[in-house]
Symmetry: C2
Subunit: 340 residues, 2 copies
């Protein structure tokens, strides 16, 4: 069987205008890939006119008249949006027409619909949102980034298991180093929940390295960082905020004088290479881990370059069968045998 | 009565080598200021040789033989360090010899000693660490940054009251805008505790603007941002991490080629002005709010410039009598009258 993904082409800020070009790019890159484009036929069809037959053959348009809006409450999206592009895209995975789906739409709605349609893996209570972060010494996968706002110690442990499997496959590391996000690295730091989670991790066969702090998210010293979604979401958005603040100061500094504007021209090639390395589009595509199938959430503001990376993330997870790996690892940990 | 502060000259990474110069700078700047330098006599005395009589007259060395180390557990520091520079500095405030104290030592120990010696304000359950953050559109005071790891809705409300009084005095704003840090701005977002805190704030006469997200810490749109110390600590350290990551990339980018190194020279004046504006030393000096007296925590790595800013923060709070203002505001809020 070849690879087939379902794309919610209506989700996000740009819709088909950016998602269809990303889809075509993926088809060109992967000769065995097929894509189901789910969305409003009249909007998507024009973008597909005049394509090479090789691409047309591997594309199928699935009409879905409705769109989940960014403001819809998850419960409302679940109840009222049976014909939305998001729901129909997820249903393609349920019916095995596709092996994974990608959406840039409303995160809460995507989570609610995916849980309802695809169900959770056995032994996993709650899904978690996981993404990869570039750091000084390497990549770090961090979860949860906001699927939950009050996770128990057991749930944090489950997040660790899920993060380990994804990281192991994505970074090709046998035993990824797992850190637990806390307000200090000493054993007595943190609240009861975090101490209980630490005790569960210490007692497992996971490669647990202990507590890590906020700045460690960007050091790259841990391969997987586990936290509650409330903390993870705020930490990531604070990071975005500080990046915007620095960008603002840099722009203001270089724009403040003629000398500054000339200096900016001189620096342009260097700045361009730095931006290329730190481009957040290269890290687009968060996983909704814990579901029985693969669902990837793209950033809502994703352009074609960014959305293409989310498609790559879906392909990586399909090829590595992440949900199956999580189940096997969890069973091994719970029965006490050593999964490596 | 003139102004008098007690300085723990042994605290932090540098001790008297940086703290004494900061003290002398403050004495030169403020002609009515007196300082009590608390620490090991034999280490501090040499730094005071040959000073102008005007400075010597306003300085007093108080010998304290012990030092609280950065690794001491707060409980151990409280029990075993009666003759430490930190403890003796805090005792100067208790005995009214000084109106505030400043330490760059172990945060947990400073908190524990200050609570034990100075006691909490009536109506405040727990202290909170508050600092000011530079943002795109202005300054934001944020609390708690790690004094607590599990705050109730009532405690978050108390943090808001304390933050409002400090911000009102520091920024000269009558009714500072208060935001509650959450994973989204919609009313249904977050956990039960945060929703209860929102309800307490909405029902008060504080200028509550609703939920804010992590990136808002650096937008400057809220004057005060309230959060639990677990979240605040991790958000701030994540911000430090992302700043270090960018600095690393910028250094690597400019250092990677001869062209880059020349470009760096050209940019030097602009970079210098940007660094001046974003220099974290200018924002050094966190308040331990909620105590009956004023205690300022300097960053442990503070140099003389940085520590001098922590002294300025102490002076600002003494001049504005922040503990008294918090008590008055809290009473007004609890009795339902409108304090403005």
């Amino acid at each position: 069987m070849g690879l087939c993904l379902a794309l919610d082409v209506m989700g996000g800020d740009h819709g088909p205008g950016e998602i269809v070009p990303a889809a075509l790019h993926a088809l060109t890159r992967h000769r065995n890939l097929e894509l189901l484009l789910v969305g409003r036929e009249q909007l998507v069809k024009p973008a597909l006119a005049g394509l090479a037959p090789d691409l047309t053959r591997r594309l199928r348009l699935i009409h879905a008249p409705d769109v989940v809006s960014m403001d819809d409450a998850p419960s409302a999206a679940l109840r009222n949006s049976k014909n939305s592009s998001m729901r129909v895209a997820v249903e393609q995975v349920k019916s095995s027409a596709a092996q994974a789906c990608v959406s840039a739409g409303n995160t809460g709605a995507l989570m609610a619909i995916s849980r309802y349609v695809l169900k959770m893996l056995p032994g996993i209570d709650r899904p978690a949102i996981c993404t990869v972060i570039p750091g000084i010494n390497g990549h770090t996968h961090i979860l949860d980034l906001g699927a939950n706002v009050d996770s128990s110690a057991e749930q944090l442990f489950q997040f660790a298991v899920m993060g380990v499997e994804l990281t192991s496959a994505a970074e090709n590391i046998a035993a990824p180093k797992v850190g637990l996000l806390n307000v200090g690295t000493e054993e007595n730091k943190g609240n009861d929940r975090i101490k209980q989670a630490a005790s569960l991790l210490s007692g497992s066969h996971l490669n647990y390295i202990g507590f890590v702090e906020g700045n460690d998210i960007y050091s790259g010293d841990a391969d997987v960082i586990v936290c509650d979604g409330f903390v993870g979401n705020i930490a990531l958005k604070a990071s975005e905020g500080v990046a915007q603040f620095f960008l603002h100061q840099v722009r203001a500094g270089f724009g403040a004088s003629l000398y500054g504007r000339v200096a900016a021209l001189v620096c342009h090639p260097v700045i361009k290479s730095i931006r290329r390395k730190t481009d957040p589009r290269r890290y687009n595509g968060a996983s909704l881990l814990g579901l029985r199938s693969i669902v990837i959430k793209s950033h809502g503001s994703a352009d074609r370059v960014s959305f293409a990376h989310a498609i790559e993330e879906a392909l990586l997870e399909v090829k590595n069968n992440i949900p199956e790996r999580i189940t096997v690892r969890l069973e091994a940990l719970l029965t006490g045998s050593h999964a490596s």
